[in-house]
């Protein structure tokens, strides 16, 4: 096997790989048609490379002519994909010119397939041989050109014009990013196109015997454009990461705000164990001052002090977890426990507002997949929202009910229902809009943040009118270990 075969085969292989990877990229984001065009271009280039190898190894004129047809078929697809890529990627380029070129190339393709041996050659008498990278490859030795042969180079020239025009249009917009794109396309597509026209004409008109040149020129195009697209992918990914960070920062701000609202509730929650510790310590002191201290009692006191200390620590841990900057950490969570923890955080607040918090968790509820802190934040938000809504109602029974139900398809649905006055139907769709709020002190970010969090968990969060007058917020979560990911 000679070097030419190896190189051409390598290019075909590389082109197939690029086609596969950018095909996948396009599949992930199907709006990005530039990736699809690049994918089509790559597979067509692989076809060109294979057909060129066939031409170079042809022993007879008939064999050579058969491979020419395959080159032309692949070339048609490659050139059209290239043009569409330019149009899509740069967003410039004249459409009438583009359609003209496509029509011309279609005519060239039909001509090439219809006439034997091709549109350019009326007859090929014999094959010649030239040296390429140390091996002898077949080229057209003697033949007669068809008078129609100008159609192919002219259409190619039109392509050069189209690309140049598109590049210039973009160059005129004074954005550095646009100019960079224009330059890359000019170098990666414009110059190889122009070179192909020049070399092709030299070959045909001057009678210089040149080996096939499409493959190396397309190699340049593929390399430059793959680099360019991957740069876009990289930047995209960075933007996505930045968005992710921003989102988690906003979520954190939401948590800090919620904590601020809960300050008095949390202080109360902390003062219980701290007060108990103090009283126990004082009791112990009084016992110790006696002539014969009751050791049993002292032991019980110390055990209780320990227990309350852990309780106070838990409250602080919870607060710290809410304030800390963090990303999603998915793990299997016992939902009932998460709900219980959140209820204990808002418990004192609910007492002060005369709101009863009811928690309905069916036994045997499967664990869900989620991030403890973020889910707590959503629950906290929905419960506080519910209590705020009730605040403005005159109803006697002030109640927020938290229910969970396992669903089909490996999901669990959680509902938070308040007995408040509800929301007029025209507002139900708006409650998730950022900055939409009905509270005087509200920022209107709680629900949008909650929805983002639930969606990041692969679930949905929505509002509906409850069975009573109030509003019900429902969200779904995936069960851990089971069901779809």
């Amino acid at each position: 096997m000679n070097l030419v075969t190896v190189l051409w085969a390598m290019e075909a292989g590389a082109a197939f790989t690029l086609c596969a990877s950018y095909g996948l990229v396009w599949f992930a984001d199907r709006r990005n048609l530039a990736n699809l065009m690049f994918c089509v271009l790559a597979v067509a280039v692989a076809g060109v490379a294979c057909a060129e190898v066939g031409m170079m190894h042809a022993a007879t004129v008939a064999e050579y002519a058969a491979w020419i047809r395959w080159v032309h078929l692949s070339l048609f697809v490659a050139l059209i994909a290239q043009l569409l890529f330019v149009r899509i990627y740069l967003g410039t380029g004249r459409l009438w010119l583009l359609s003209t070129i496509i029509a011309a190339r279609l005519a060239v393709l039909v001509g090439n397939l219809h006439f034997y041996p091709s549109l350019s050659w009326q007859e090929i008498h014999s094959l010649g041989h030239v040296s390429l990278l140390g091996s002898q490859v077949s080229v057209v030795g003697e033949g007669v050109l068809r008078s129609w042969q100008w159609l192919a180079p002219v259409s190619r020239l039109l392509m050069v014009v189209f690309v140049a025009d598109a590049v210039l249009q973009l160059w005129r917009t004074p954005r550095p990013e646009a100019r960079r794109k224009a330059l890359v396309v000019a170098g990666g597509i414009g110059i190889p196109l122009l070179s192909a026209v020049v070399l092709g004409q030299v070959k045909l008109l001057e009678g210089v015997q040149l080996p096939p040149v499409q493959t190396p020129l397309f190699a340049a195009t593929l390399v430059v454009m793959a680099f360019e697209l991957s740069r876009g992918l990289f930047l995209n990914q960075r933007a996505r990461r930045e968005l992710e960070e921003l989102r988690s920062e906003v979520a954190r701000a939401g948590r800090v705000t919620a904590l601020g609202q809960l300050a008095s509730s949390l202080a109360h929650e902390l003062s219980q164990p701290l007060g108990a510790i103090l009283r126990n310590a004082e009791a112990a002191e009084l016992h110790l001052n006696r002539p014969s201290p009751d050791l049993e009692e002292l032991r019980a006191i110390v055990a209780d002090i320990r227990k309350d200390d852990r309780r106070a620590g838990d409250v602080i841990d919870q607060m710290r977890a809410l304030i800390k900057r963090r990303t999603l950490e998915m793990q299997p969570l016992p939902l009932a426990e998460v709900v219980h923890d959140v209820i204990s955080m808002v418990h004192a607040d609910a007492l002060a507002r005369h709101v009863a918090l009811d928690c309905v968790m069916p036994p045997g509820l499967p664990p869900v997949k989620g991030d403890r802190v973020h889910l707590s934040q959503v629950l906290l938000n929905l419960i506080i929202n519910g209590m705020d809504a009730i605040q403005s109602s005159r109803a006697n029974t002030k109640r927020v009910v938290i229910e969970a139900q396992p669903q089909t398809h490996g999901q669990v649905e959680v509902a938070v229902t308040d007995s408040g006055p509800g929301v007029p139907p025209e507002f139900i769709g708006k409650v998730f809009d950022p900055f939409f709020t009905t509270k005087s002190g509200g920022m209107g970010m709680g629900l949008p943040i909650s929805r983002t969090i639930i969606e990041a968990h692969g679930g949905r969060l929505w509002a509906e009118r409850g069975r009573g007058p109030g509003l019900t917020f429902r969200f779904t979560l995936q069960q851990a270990g089971g069901g779809a990911s």
């Binding site: 300050a263 008095s264 202080a267 109360h268 929650e269 902390l270 003062s271 219980q272 164990p273 701290l274 007060g275 108990a276 510790i277 103090l278 009283r279 126990n280 004082e282 009791a283 009084l286 016992h287 009692e297 006191i301 209780d304 227990k307 309350d308 309780r311 004192a348 007492l351 002060a352 005369h354």
Partner: protein, 204 residues
């Protein structure tokens, strides 16, 4: 150890309840604990004594409401309120309703016990005053309707003659009524009768 008085502790937190009970019992108080205001209301009786040590934030009835309800039920126990997070408006209304003190949940032992003792002292003196008043009004309870009328005039400093004219009865009858009144109430002079009647508050 002698009992220093009865303290009714109301707190929904079992752990805190136990701790307070331990400390107060060790300090010599008799302690009854209740998980909610309703629980205390169900068990309280008008002749109960002592004071209430309650958290302001309680399920069902909060501390202030418990105080009102007890008052309505005729159980006038003085209150010491505890709070984890004292806010001024609540403190003000608690004091206005007659709370003896308003303390932080983590207030030092001395402060807490001093407040409890103040509350107990107030309970004792109020109880004393109430008992005395009751004894007095019992002494006045035997008077007939006519004697009440005469008493009202006497206390207002009117002469027998004026009273007989006002009530349209004989002056001697007035005198008889006066003797009956002083005998029944057990006083010797009109001055004493007037003072007692005022003290007992029987004349409105």
């Amino acid at each position: 150890m002698s009992e220093r008085g009865v303290v009714h502790v109301v707190d929904d937190d079992a752990s805190f309840r136990t701790a307070v009970r331990r400390m107060l019992m060790a300090a010599g108080f008799e302690v009854h604990t209740f998980a909610s205001g309703t629980e205390l209301l169900a068990q309280a009786s008008a002749d109960g004594c002592g004071c209430v040590l309650a958290d302001l934030r309680l399920p069902e009835l909060n501390g202030l409401e418990l105080q009102q309800e007890l008052g309505r039920a005729g159980v006038a126990l003085p209150f010491v309120f505890l709070t984890g997070y004292g806010d001024v408006p609540t403190a003000v209304s608690a004091m206005r309703q007659g709370a003896v003190d308003f303390l932080d949940k983590c207030a030092p032992q001395e402060t807490l016990i001093a407040a409890i003792e103040r509350a107990l002292k107030r309970d004792a003196s109020e109880r004393e005053a109430r008992a005395r008043q009751e004894r007095l009004s019992r002494r006045f309870a035997a008077l007939t309707a006519r004697e009440w009328e005469v008493l009202r005039h006497v206390v207002n400093g009117r002469m027998n003659k004026q009273i007989s004219a006002d009530l349209g009865i004989h002056e001697r009858t007035v005198k008889l009524h006066r003797t009956a009144i002083t005998t029944k109430v057990g006083v010797r002079s009109v001055a004493e009768l007037t003072t007692l009647a005022r003290e007992a508050g029987v004349l409105g």
